[in-house]
């Protein structure tokens, strides 16, 4: 009996750690949707870029060039992933989102443009790094921590810690700083925010940068846990969308809950059905959600303005 309980708790713990990773990716997506009403199809590829940035920093730069030992190198790589993500986000914002906004494009074009960026990033990384998986070893992945009968790796602990810190920082930013409040204003009503003197373009660019930085860090945390190829992020993409849809587009709290939920479901699915079927289960959930309640867990029936 306690064996079953132990198993359940263990899987839940695994699920939470997975969930935290997913939340970091999905939060970025939902943030971008919140201010732009657009889905960034390239978001998962930002994750891959972050992972590669972290990889090269940790294994080549930090250790060899600067001689920093393993753990330190890895932690340093988190920052480079953050920077890489932020830089990439800024580039995409300036080169793709901003011009399209200026020319008054409809919903469809930016979406397709981000698909173009996604393909570009994937093939670009394929060209640079090749299709053979990289071995990204994090020193923390080898450490095991025990809490009673529950095991988890140092890496998992780091993931939870970093994501919790990131979410807390994000909340604090949105509530207490001027820019954060400006962000919320733009998300609610872009035109009015602009009329009140908020520089929408700056806020939007900033949001994208933050979201991409989050994705980058998620990549650095993800790298040691999965096979690292140019398509690593892409495998996440539909899960990330599933989370954003289940949580409700633009809804931060919903995304967090949904992310943790998906993580836990995945952990249990792996345990009982094997890893091959995870994607299938999650995507089936996604489709079910889209049919039953497309606006997410917290939905309102609004009158359509015809």
């Amino acid at each position: 009996m306690t064996d079953l309980l132990t198993l359940v708790v263990q899987q839940s713990v695994n699920g939470v750690y997975l969930g935290c990773l997913y939340v970091m990716v999905a939060l970025g997506l939902t943030l971008i949707y919140g201010v732009l009403n657009q889905i960034n199809f390239a978001h998962a590829d930002f994750v891959t870029v972050g992972a590669f940035a972290a990889f090269f920093t940790a294994t080549r730069f930090a250790t060899k060039a600067l001689g920093i030992p393993d753990t330190g190198a890895y932690l340093l790589s988190l920052f480079s992933a953050l920077g890489a993500g932020a830089l990439l986000g800024w580039l995409v914002s300036a080169a793709v989102f901003a011009p399209l906004r200026r020319s008054g494009a409809d919903e469809l074009r930016p979406l397709i443009a981000t698909i173009g960026v996604s393909v570009l990033l994937e093939n670009g990384q394929l060209a640079l790094f090749g299709p053979i998986p990289y071995q990204f070893d994090s020193p923390l992945a080898r450490e095991t921590i025990r809490l009673g009968p529950i095991f988890f790796s140092g890496q998992s602990a780091l993931v939870v810690a970093v994501s919790a810190a990131a979410i807390a920082a994000l909340y604090a930013f949105m509530r207490f700083t001027f820019l954060g409040k400006a962000l919320r204003a733009v998300a609610q009503d872009r035109e009015t925010a602009g009329l009140m003197g908020i520089n929408e373009n700056l806020v939007i660019a900033l949001t994208i940068v933050i979201a991409s930085a989050l994705a980058g860090v998620a990549g650095a945390l993800l790298g040691p846990v999965v096979v690292l190829t140019p398509f690593t992020g892409a495998s996440l993409i539909v899960k990330a969308f599933a989370i954003v849809i289940i949580g409700g587009f633009g809804n931060m709290e919903g995304t967090i809950i949904a992310g943790l939920l998906v993580g836990i479901i995945e952990a249990f699915t792996v345990q009982y059905l094997g890893s091959g079927l995870i994607d299938l289960v999650v995507f089936a959930m996604l489709l079910a959600m889209l049919v039953v309640r497309p606006t997410g867990l917290i939905a309102e029936r609004k009158e359509e303005n015809v």
Binding site: E300, R301, K302, E303, E304, N305, V306
Partner: protein, 250 residues
Amino acid sequence: MTFLRAEKLNKSFGGVAAVQNVSLQVPQGAIFALIGPNGAGKSTLLNLLSGIYQPDSGSLLFNQANLIGLRAHERVRLGIARTFQKIRLFKQLTLLENVLAGFHIHQDVPLWKCFLPSSSTRFRAEALELLSFVGLTSRANDRAGALSYGQQRMLEIARALATRPKLFMLDEPAAGLNAAEVDFLLKRLENINKRSITVLVVEHNMDLVMNVAQRVFVMDHGVPIFEGTPREVQANPRVIEAYLGGAIAA
């Protein structure tokens, strides 16, 4: 003879009642106006009549046919046409193509034939006639998006008429039109009515419909206030109050 009969229609959205207990009867061959201040629920009511929404409760009969459960595109085949408050033209298509689209329900080409080359000129003449009715023949091959607002409104009317309706409903057609355009619109509506088409116009500006409508139904906050001839409506104190005591031209 009552052409359109609605009884005790109710519609709420997320707990807010947009239309409450509305009953109305539109006589055949009339020009019937549905008026009320902004937010009165007129558009919602029109959407209920045209099939974009289904009512929460109540009954709706058109020419003895029960409309409840019928979707919007099915009602068109019964002879109900409408225009929209926010003009919904096919902006990328030409004027002629827009009007031709209205003849869709009269097409009876079997599917397999559509894979073979053909030249469909069947409704062209009638489409051009409709364009001339609204004064837009000269621009038949221009993109609809290139028209002025007033012209787009008239194109929308021409397109709806292509469905050969028996009941034609318009949602705030005069909004955004200048005085000359409104005048033209009202004359067209009278002409349409003379062709035995029953007309139902939703408007929030009372002046416009007073000159044309035979019967007026007034709503406010989703609830009916009064119904009668234009003159009766103008004199009714509750109606005047609903319009915030605003001056109404006699």
